[in-house]
Amino acid sequence: MRRALTAVVAVALVAGVVFVAHRPDQAGAQGGGTIEAAVTFAGAPVIEKLKVNKDTEKCGTETAIEKVVVGPNKGLAYAVVSVAGAKGAATAKKATIDQHGCKFVPHVQAMTPGEVEIKNSDDILHNIHTYSTANASINKAQPKFKKVMTEKFEKPEIIKVTCDVHSWMLGWVAVMPHPFFGVTDANGATRIENVPPGKYSVEVWHETLGKQTKEVEVKAGQTAKVAIEMKK
């Protein structure tokens, strides 16, 4: 019985993957290729737990500082994968950082230079404090009545974002000079689409584990898979 069920699920999964792979995507139409990155980390996750002494109705009584988040099959979450040296126009999509439950959501994101919308969904005071060199550092209060602020990150760099009121809050914004990037999901996977054909080195950045690169060749209409293992 159980074996039969497993077989059905496996068939369904394979079918799904085949279906996705054969979907006539736009990348093919524009003559670009796709990079599928799988980032892994062999070590143990690093998550520091912390008692909360204020705003517990919004922040909870305990919070976690997620320094290294490892999912199933060693997949490393929150890694920024980008195509080094690629060129391309900025995306139109505005980046958003939400302060929700005394966490920055998303914890890590990447964007092309431009505006970022900073939301406060918590109904308590936060302050957006960025650590940057190329862009102007920001330290602005965002009281509960200030639901949205808009800031500009115009120069490529990786910016640390903190809140001094809640010292455990930590976020990262990778400002990229081109649109060819992705942030890994809980399984350590991300896709970069519409990459112009060519030989590249794919760069992975992680807040705790640093940087690594790997060569990859992108062909028009095809998907190049790249597996990168991060080390301490």
């Binding site: 209060a141 009281p143 010292s167």
Partner: protein, 490 residues
């Protein structure tokens, strides 16, 4: 007409001379400094703390809190600009006036030329980082202080949650206090808003409003100009902050003990104590005996005292951001405070060594410790404290929003030679010691004072109401006699 002019002219000259002598020289306009000349000044005057390389790692740096500025980052706390770069005038002012509450002294002893030169040199450490042109922050239109403005400021203070760091009553005791770090990763304490004289960037209304508007760079203090409901709220907040405490501590040199006929309340919050004028005593780090305490946590105790025919009662108020008891495993110790007296009040100037006495002369300590209450002790030095049996003193302490208020009651007359008897109109030497256990202070890691005087005022006499009329009548009589004599001669 002629006569008037004759008098007016010398008067005008006198007035002009007086004005010229009394007027302060005006602040010089920005000058271009010579960095090469500034280097010599820097190495002689600044490098001890800020380091030869300007990285804030001079030989004294590890002892100082807050740490000396690291000039290589080009980050300056106090600026009047909307962007990161301060104006030269901002830097010049800090060099000239120093930073209250830190180890940065006022360098007005250097000539203006030297200050501009050293400023030019300091800027070279940051290189490209200070290249951007400074952009002046534009403060909203000034709102003068008024009851309504202070009320609105308090509302804003609560709405924008200043208390998270600065505490409900502004004493720098907010819940985020322990977590705060500056951009160099050093722990940093939020300002105690009731002690305006310690504000790093100055205590004037414009200075406070500017800090609120553009924040304190490199620290957790954010900019609020875009984050208040209306721009003028910056001024309401300023007016509220100014209402939280005096602009100067007005330190006392003599503690006056008020004479009272009835009972003296032992409730620290009693109305009685609010009516007495506090005697503010500054406390300093104990740097004589190891371990030394270069950065004392408690810098002021406000002393009120009263006595009646039975007892002498001390009321002590001091700020401490955390109430802590003895937990040595967590490096926390009990908060404590002590009054020190000679065991016997003698007439001469001689008294025991101010730091808890020495081997030959003991002191009497009236000590309160969180969790243990009031005790009496005899000390022959900081390491040799012995409790006095048969304690006669009792106490009552409350802790609210970063402040202790303590009442200690003791009989006026003592039973034995280990503790003093207090007599009206006698100058009694007194000294104070305090420990903020939450800041790791215990034993010789404490705040101290040298000897002060305490005096029990004479029971209220009506001398001051009797003597003046007598003097007036005698004067009148004498004048009448003079007139009579003069008339007689004429």
């Amino acid at each position: 007409m002629g006569r008037g002019a004759l008098i007016a002219r010398p008067l005008a000259v006198v007035a002009a001379v007086a004005l010229a002598l009394g007027a302060a020289p005006s602040r010089a306009a920005a000058q271009a400094g010579d960095a090469t000349a500034g280097k010599a000044v820097y190495e002689r005057r600044c490098a001890g703390c800020h380091g030869e390389k300007g990285d804030g790692k001079g030989p004294a740096a590890d002892l100082l809190v807050p740490k000396p500025r690291d000039f290589t980052m080009g980050l300056y706390k106090i600026r009047t600009t909307a962007n990161k770069v301060p104006t030269d005038q901002d830097l010049f002012r800090i060099i000239t006036d120093g930073m209250p509450g830190t180890s940065m002294p006022a360098w007005a002893v250097l000539t203006e030329r030297e200050r501009w030169n050293v400023l030019a040199y300091i800027k070279t450490f940051a290189g490209e980082k200070l290249k951007e042109a400074p952009k002046k922050v534009e403060l909203p239109k000034d709102v003068p202080s008024s009851e309504a403005s202070i009320k609105r400021g308090k509302e804003m203070f609560e709405a924008i949650e200043c208390h998270k760091c600065h505490g409900t009553d502004g004493r720098g005791d907010g819940p985020s206090r322990a977590e705060l770090k500056d951009e160099w990763g050093n722990p940093i304490a939020p300002a105690n808003l009731t002690k305006r004289w310690t504000f790093r960037g100055g205590a004037s209304r414009t200075e406070v409003a500017t800090r609120l508007a553009n924040g304190v760079l490199g620290t957790p203090m954010p900019a609020f100009l875009d984050s208040v409901e209306k721009p003028e709220d910056i001024w309401h907040l300023t007016n509220f902050i100014q209402s939280l405490g005096p602009d100067s501590p007005h330190y006392a040199t003599l503690v006056t003990v008020t004479a009272v006929t009835g009972a003296i309340p032992d409730d620290p919050n009693a109305e009685f104590w609010k009516k007495l004028t506090p005697n503010n005593i500054p406390l300093m780090g104990q740097v004589i005996v190891d371990p030394r305490n270069f950065n004392p946590a408690i810098d002021l105790v406000a002393v009120r005292a009263a006595y009646n025919d039975q007892a002498i009662v001390f009321h002590l108020t001091w700020d401490d951001p955390t109430q802590s008891a003895d937990e040595p495993a967590k490096k926390l110790f009990a908060d404590a405070i002590a009054l020190q007296f000679p065991p016997q009040i003698t007439a001469g100037p001689e008294r025991p060594y101010f730091l808890m006495g020495d081997g030959s002369d003991a002191v009497y300590l009236l000590r309160w410790e969180n969790g243990k209450g009031v005790s009496e002790a005899s000390a022959n030095g900081p390491g040799k404290i012995a409790a006095i049996a048969g304690g006669e003193a009792r106490g009552n302490a409350v802790f609210t929003n970063g402040q202790y208020r303590l009442v200690i009651t003791r009989p006026l007359v003592s039973k034995d030679a280990t503790r003093p008897t207090f007599t009206p109109a006698v100058f009694v030497p007194v000294a104070f010691q305090a420990w903020d256990g939450g800041a790791g202070e215990t034993g010789t890691r404490m705040s101290v004072t040298s000897w002060y005087y305490l005096r029990l005022e004479e029971p209220q006499s009506n001398r001051r109401f009797v003597i003046p009329p007598v003097v007036a009548i005698l004067t009148l009589a004498a004048m009448l006699v003079v007139v009579r004599i003069a008339k007689g001669r004429a």
